[in-house]
């Protein structure tokens, strides 16, 4: 409006309205479908607000009562379950992915059929998690084909009840997470390794470095930011773990609720229409994720910028 002062400013304002217009749908939809719901979720968390039968109790303001109650329930256990199951899947995932990414990019090794391997290892990532969990449930159930085969091969004298044992259930969920995500991680790490300046390897080769030395002394330090990115995004993904354990255990998280994750707990509260408690669980998750976001922010900004990094590497490559 008052932009006539300098010609530069006038140019900016001539097109500025288009900028606002172009990003408006995003922000309108974001505000209606995400921001307002997020605020009301946090708001509800301070209220006693649930449905008992057909009667709705509340909303009555109770301050921090939901949070106090939350930490007296099994919430810490569920957070522990979530992190443990995530970790059991993540450790082999990062090791295997790093190994595969190193092999695929190793020119001396020059593996054939890379297109095929990459296609196959990424495939499980696209599968409906609920269908995958259903398949595992059907295969590993007490009288499913896995047990049928193990017994008829004489390995077990009677069916092993995978889903009745804590280790079996957690192990299956972790294994599924591993299988679904190692291909994705491999491709991310490969892209990172290929972004490393090849001149560094040439120089190292002239100096007589072995493949191992080059991997540990050049590749790993240079892709550390992406490794950190993989770690944190995987952790945030892990905190969201829901479909697989929900379907595999039919929502119960049994045996002994050892497979109940944070989101399953949230889902249970929502299903019983206890909006106050569900709000409190969401808020706790929100705070954890916000902390992780800041961590990512610091990792990425310490390393000269977000998007600029890629192009800088591209110039070398």
């Amino acid at each position: 409006m008052n932009a006539e002062s300098t010609p530069k400013k006038r140019k900016r304002s001539r097109y500025a309205k288009w900028g606002y217009l172009f990003i408006a749908p995003f922000f309108i939809v974001f505000i209606i479908f995400s921001l307002i719901p997020l605020c009301s979720t946090i708001y509800y968390s301070f209220f006693q607000y649930y449905r008992q039968g057909l009667k709705i109790i509340g909303p009555t303001f109770t301050g921090m009562a939901n949070y106090v109650k939350l930490f007296q329930t099994d919430l810490p256990n569920y957070l522990g379950n979530t992190l443990l199951i995530w970790l059991i899947g993540f450790v082999p995932q990062i090791i295997i992915s790093l190994l595969l990414a190193a092999w695929f990019t190793n020119q001396r090794l020059n593996l054939r059929g890379q297109g095929f391997f990459k296609t196959v290892i990424y495939m499980p990532n696209l599968i409906m998690a609920s269908a995958f969990a259903m398949l595992f449930f059907a295969l590993f159930s007490d009288n499913g084909p896995v047990n049928g085969s193990l017994v008829s091969l004489g390995i077990f004298s009677q069916p092993f009840r995978f889903l009745a044992s804590i280790a079996g259930t957690r192990g299956l969920i972790s294994f599924m997470n591993f299988l679904m995500w190692f291909g994705n991680t491999t491709i991310l790490l490969m892209a990172a390794i290929m972004g490393v300046d090849p001149g560094l390897y040439e120089a190292a080769e002239i100096d007589g470095a072995s493949s191992n030395q080059m991997f540990w002394r050049i590749t790993i330090p240079l892709i550390r930011p992406i490794m950190a990115y993989v770690l944190v995004t995987s952790l945030i993904g892990g905190l969201q773990m829901f479909d697989v354990p929900q379907i595999l255990t039919n929502g119960s998280g049994n045996p002994d609720r050892s497979a109940t994750t944070m989101i399953m707990y949230l889902n249970n509260h929502m299903y019983s229409k206890n909006y106050g408690m569900a709000g409190a669980v969401s808020t706790v998750l929100f705070l954890i994720c916000a902390a992780l976001c800041f961590l990512i922010y610091f990792i990425t900004t310490n390393n000269d910028g977000f998007a600029g990094n890629k192009r800088k590497r591209g110039v070398h490559g």
């Binding site: 719901p37 296609t119 409906m128 972004g195 930011p225 990512i296």
Partner: protein, 286 residues
Amino acid sequence: MNKRSKSGQSGLSAARAACYLVLAVLCFLCLFFFYMLLINASRNTYQIQQGFSFLPGKSFVVNLKNLLKNANIPVLSGIYNSLVVSALTALLASYFSALTAYGIYAYDFRFKKTAFTVILLIMMMPTQISAVGFVNQMQAMGLRNSLIPLFLPSIASPTVFFFMKQYLDSNMPMEIVEAARIDGSGEFHTFNTIVLPIMKPAVAVQAIFTFVTAWNNFFIPALLIDKADKKTLPILIAQLRSADFLKFDMGQVYMMVTIAIIPVIMIYLILSKYIVRGVALGGVKG
């Protein structure tokens, strides 16, 4: 290939053999379950309980017929709902993310930096945390048991936006836009006829990704939909899981899972090159 050194040739082939072995094991793990799924979809309950078989049975058509006849599991409407939701999600997410990314890339306005930072911040927030408010709000808006809340929010897809923005940063010359302006093309017209075609590869990759994500989505649909004719495939699968298994026809279970994942596998096999490239492109954020 020229880089292969002369020394340690035998060590190299041993290492290569080890690599192929590990890769073969991993591929076996990835493919085995899908193979088993297809085989079991063609066998009857009795055969399935006998254990694995590497040869298909003869009950494929029977299982399919039984599943389609099963009144408790409306598979056909499930496929239809899933298709509608996924296709509209892919369309809205890729078009509006491209629009938002171009808005931030091409124009200079006061809240540009703030808008970009806000989108990056919400990118990492799980959708589940606002679920309580979302479900209540949809109830208040009369959108329970409607497909609208399953695809409309995808207009605001931060990850898709981020991918598009990165693509624009490295592939979009502003000179073309300026030339179009001189020729009298309106801003919106320029976006649709010039910018969008330049962004086609990014739009295609993200359309595939959002389609697959929407097809597989379970958490929010399960909270919003309880009418049988509005259920999407993941909800129907969850429903199968809670059925009484001892009385259930396992052939139908495997057939249902097959139907739920086959379309995605087909899309993937046709487009895998672009998908793999897309992951690599989108992930390099270090």
